[in-house]
């Protein structure tokens, strides 16, 4: 343990209002949710922060609400809560999948979805699911609340739309139509307790034999979790026969910008991205019948 605990201060607010007020006055204090991201660099002596705002007691940030229209998740919702929620299991298989492949049981009990999004690792597992479902996030400060398309949340490597003094409070996802196509696949360093080398989520549906809605998003192949917009465009509005696999592959090459790191290579990430995408499209059209 190389973390300098004695040098650290923690403020524990009782309410969200108090937390936001504190953050407005101390914008450089670091929110602390489940700690599964923060505690690792902290214990290694590599975290630059020494002042923490403890979100743990804020019940306003907890809770899962599922209506006919929307799923709304409090920022402190844990992976276990998502994974074992009957309603989510029935309607949002990608969210369940991404929660399931995140760490393992003990991480899933502590890690929160809000922490996952704000931590903004390009290799995180839930963001592709949320991008494919077209989620929105609520950002709140003493100035009030704003809803932002999750698609517009990640601005660059480890940069988000969160302004100074803001907390991420809720995540909202439209309920998928029954019978829609859901796809999720994580290619990680191993089967569990793994970091993604490539992660792909897809959501789509068809009307009259043509693709009426389609979103696909990758993790770990760009500085941010990212929609494959160019490739999506070559699928949307078409029938299986009208999709040109070579053109899709070329578009995908533009959509992603993977790198070499200690976990994998850019070349491998491209190789897998292409094949997973093709395999997903195959499943999609098979699903449409």
């Amino acid at each position: 343990m190389k973390g300098d605990a004695p040098a650290c201060a923690v403020h524990t607010p009782a309410t969200l209002g108090e937390a936001l007020a504190f953050l407005a006055a101390h914008p450089d204090w670091r929110p602390l949710a489940g700690g599964t991201d923060l505690m690792v660099p902290f214990a290694a002596g590599r975290l630059p922060d020494f002042n923490f705002l403890n979100l743990d007691p804020l019940h306003e940030l907890r809770g899962i609400e599922l209506t006919n229209e929307h799923l709304t998740l409090g920022a402190l919702t844990t992976y276990s809560e998502i994974r074992w929620h009957e309603g989510i299991r029935a309607a949002f298989p990608n969210l369940v999948q991404s929660a399931w492949v995140t760490g393992a049981a003990a991480i899933q009990n502590r890690g929160t979805i809000g922490g996952n999004l704000v931590n903004a690792s390009p290799a995180a597992d839930t963001p592709p699911s949320l991008l494919a479902y077209g989620a929105e996030v609520e950002l709140r400060s003493t100035a009030g609340s704003r809803w932002v398309d999750y698609d517009a949340f990640h601005l660059g490597y480890k940069q988000t739309a969160l302004a100074s003094g803001e907390l991420l409070t809720r995540i909202r996802v439209k309920r998928p139509v029954p019978g829609a196509f859901h796809f999720y696949r994580k290619v990680g360093t191993r089967k569990a307790q793994a970091i993604a080398k490539v992660c792909l989520a897809g959501y789509g549906r068809a009307e009259n034999g043509r693709v009426a809605e389609f979103r696909a998003a990758f993790g770990a192949v760009a500085p941010v979790p990212k929609r494959a917009l160019a490739a999506e465009a070559l699928v949307l509005g078409r029938s299986a026969a009208e999709v040109d696999p070579d053109a899709v592959r070329a578009a995908l090459a533009e959509d992603i910008t993977p790198i070499d790191d200690i976990r994998s290579s850019a070349k491998y990430r491209r190789f897998v991205s292409e094949r997973l995408f093709a395999s997903m499209l195959k499943d999609f059209f098979a699903h449409l019948g």
């Binding site: 290619v187 089967k191 094949r275």
Partner: protein, 746 residues
């Protein structure tokens, strides 16, 4: 053979209850009054000259215990094979993370700040990081030519084989470094006082290795050094030589601290980045076969990356070279082996000790060769497997009645190798992106020390009677999870015909136990177990001769007799010392003779599924069948094999050390990938018993064997699945397999 009461039964692990309740005390669980914590300042460069050490601002340095090379009272070199590795670098460093300075303080937070505040100024010099660069010797970093040790094994005239051969097949194979990754990192506590001398408590495999190193470091006689093994959370070779270094560090700090105890505990990152790994290897193989697939000749160049200091490399090289020919009859052999210096941290012992590297090369090569020749890999091996009376590469004659073709056939049968192979050939032709294949490897592992090692060690083990009439085993052989305590207890209970709970095992403590040698080389059961057995017989003779016991006896009579003897004479001890059986002959000069007293034999077979979209390989079934003499405790023995196979699968597929200028860049458990429970299939283990006269009740060694087979078996299965012989290197990560698919050979 008489019916056995203990041997062959799955008796419960002796210290099992303490382990499942969390009551077992490992080194970091122990504390002492006045304890200080120690930290190590390390080199940030691979090679260079130390120009100065600077102590930064803002740290109360006067409150710290600080030790550098000039504080060393005796020899500043770890006494192992060659005196070349310093405890603390003095004038120069030869690898990243080499220890330069030691600090101790009671406050761990302050200690970390202090460590970060020290800067060592080093003038960098050119360094060598690969086997190829070391061999080329454009930069010489050790001796005259970077060569730590050469071994050459010759049999017959290999050059004649090429001329008469129908097929000559060549190939180059490679294996990577592998981290032992015991779950308990290195930990040691030392206390050095004028009255008591040097005492060390630690997580370690070989108390007498540490004892010897400390003796030289402090220039003190034997009886002023005491080494005590604490419960040890895994070793696998990783706690064979490194504890000498870290014990020395803690002891130097304690000495300088005026006798306050000092604990050094590595965190995971420091443990991975600074301590030993398995030697990376490169092997060039050239083989000659006649038209029927009979082996005619084998030429091999076997190269190991030894890292920056000699440490154990000569013996690792030796075992690797001796196993290199595999379990086959070759009329002619020329093996040239070299351990080479690089500027990585020294590579050290890891389960298998060189054999997994060379056996990977030969067993993988035989499937490459079979495909080239157009022969079934099973039939190619069948024609050439060693049989009784055959002469091995070192001239050793196979004297045991081993049935290798039978072992192979039975393992393949368990896997349904032939059936699956045929079915997969059909299904792989379809469009399913998952391709399946089966593969196997046949191999052996020499039990005990190589060549004259056991004779040189002349190990001693003993037993003593206790006041309450129990028998206590006295040996320096450590329990590191493999079941030493239980095995010794079973062997003693068996030979004395008493229940297990009449037998205790003394915690290894050099003050109380004789030197039964290191806990390595699959020798504890076969060699030390036999000594313990003989000592127990000796103890029984003593009480019988004293007239206190008569055969046959009951357990109660035995216990009463022991108690009576101890009451009457004060102590009851019996020892036994190893002496080489006269029929075992070995020459270190020529590398000819009986390399090992006996071997364990095995065939491992794997079933794999390769996802061609992601190049991920899943091992879907695994059979490990072996002949290991007699199995003393089936549950423990299976556990050894299962654990070793899991490490072997990791070695084959995932466990990759990412080197950056000689330093491990992925020194976290999140980036160095060992298997979780979700990554492995149910490993199926089978034993065939063929009692061997060398071991207690006929046991051989099994600890290292399971590391040898998975690598080649899995890569051979991948060749079968994909129809390419390109995979020649492990770990065969998905990234590497992708490259192999691009460059299909077959």
């Amino acid at each position: 053979m008489a019916k056995l009461e203990q041997v062959g039964h799955s008796r419960l692990r002796k210290e099992g209850r303490a382990k499942v309740t969390g009551a077992a005390i490992y080194t970091d669980d122990a504390t002492m009054p006045g304890l200080l914590h120690g930290a190590t300042v390390r080199s940030q460069v691979a090679r260079g000259r130390i120009k100065g050490i600077h102590f930064g601002e803002g740290i109360p340095w006067e409150d710290f215990v600080i030790v550098s090379a000039k504080d060393v009272p005796g020899e500043n070199r770890v006494a192992m094979i060659v005196l070349d590795q310093p405890f603390l670098a003095d004038t120069r460093v030869n690898h990243p993370e080499e220890a330069i300075l030691l600090l101790a303080h009671a406050d761990r937070v302050l200690l970390e700040k202090a460590r970060a505040a020290v800067t060592v100024e080093i003038e960098e010099e050119p360094a060598v990081f690969t086997i190829e660069a070391s061999l080329a010797a454009a930069t010489v970093v050790w001796g005259e030519d970077n060569v730590f040790k050469k071994v050459s094994i010759r049999k017959g005239e290999v050059d004649a084989a090429w001329a008469s051969a129908t097929h000559v097949v060549e190939g180059t194979y490679g294996t990577g470094a592998q981290e032992q990754l015991y779950i308990e990192p290195h930990a040691v506590i030392a206390k050095v006082t004028a009255e008591e001398g040097v005492t060390v408590w630690g997580s370690l495999q070989c108390p007498y290795y540490v004892h010897k190193a400390l003796k030289h470091l402090f220039n003190e006689p034997d009886d002023r050094i005491r080494v005590i093994q604490m419960e040890t959370g895994g070793g696998f070779g990783g706690k064979e030589d490194y504890p000498s270094l870290i014990s020395g560090h803690a002891a130097l700090l304690s000495m300088k601290a005026g006798g306050r105890p000092v604990k050094i505990l590595y965190d995971r990152e420091e443990d991975m980045v600074a301590t030993t790994k398995r030697h990376p290897s490169k092997t060039r193989v050239k083989t000659a076969f006649d038209a029927d697939g009979k082996m005619l000749g084998l030429e091999m160049e076997f190269l190991l990356d030894g890292g920056a200091y000699v440490t154990l490399s000569p013996v690792v090289l030796s075992r690797g070279a001796i196993h290199a020919a595999g379990p086959y009859y070759w009329p002619a052999v020329a093996i040239e082996a070299k351990a080479l210096a690089t500027n990585c941290p020294p590579h050290g012992a890891f389960r298998g000790f060189g054999a997994p590297q060379s056996l990977f090369a030969i067993e993988r090569h035989l499937d490459v060769a079979a495909a080239r020749i157009g022969m079934d890999p099973v039939e190619l091996r069948r024609k050439n497997l060693l049989r009784i009376g055959d002469v091995m590469a070192t001239g050793q004659v196979v004297k045991e009645a081993v049935d290798l073709p039978g072992i192979m056939d039975r393992a393949l049968e368990k896997l349904d190798y032939h059936g699956r192979k045929a079915r997969y050939a059909g299904s792989n032709a379809g469009t399913d992106p998952i391709k399946r294949g089966v593969g196997f490897a046949v191999f052996m592992h020499g039990c005990g020390f190589t060549g004259g090692g056991e004779a040189y060690l002349a190990s001693v083990a003993g037993v003593e009677g206790t006041a309450d009439g129990k028998v206590r085993v006295l040996a320096a052989s450590t329990e590191i999870g493999q079941g030493t305590n239980t095995m010794f207890s079973q062997v003693v209970a068996e030979v004395l015909r008493v229940p297990m709970d009449l037998v205790e095992v003394q915690q290894p403590d050099t003050k109380l136990v004789p030197n039964s040698g290191p806990t390595v080389a699959s020798r504890t059961c076969m060699v030390v177990g036999k000594l313990v057995q003989d000592a127990a017989v000796g103890l029984k003779q003593i009480i019988i001769q004293a007239g206190l016991l008569r055969e046959p006896y009951t357990a109660d009579e035995f216990q009463a007799a022991v108690a009576a003897y101890v009451a009457a004479f004060g102590s009851l001890k019996a020892y036994s010392q190893y002496s080489t059986p006269p029929h075992i002959v070995w020459s270190d000069e020529t590398y000819q003779g009986d390399a090992y007293g006996t071997y364990a034999w095995a065939c491992y077979a794997a079933d794999v599924a390769v996802d061609t979209r992601t190049c991920e390989v899943a091992v879907t079934d695994f059979v490990a069948l072996q002949e290991v003499g007699r199995v003393i405790n089936p549950t423990l023995a299976e556990g050894q094999i299962e654990g070793g196979v899991a490490q072997g699968i990791g070695y084959a597929l995932w466990e990759k050390v990412e080197w950056r200028n000689g330093r491990m860049a992925n020194a976290q458990m999140t980036n160095y990938i060992m298997a979780t429970s979700a990554d492995l299939p149910r490993l199926r283990v089978y034993f065939e018993e063929n009692p061997n006269p060398m071991g207690p009740s006929g046991a051989k060694g099994i600890g290292e064997l399971p590391m040898d087979g998975p690598g080649p078996a899995i890569l051979n299965a991948i060749q079968d699945a994909l129809g390419t012989d390109a995979p020649r290197e492990i770990p065969l990560t998905p990234e590497l397999l992708m490259d192999c698919l691009e460059a299909r050979h077959v």
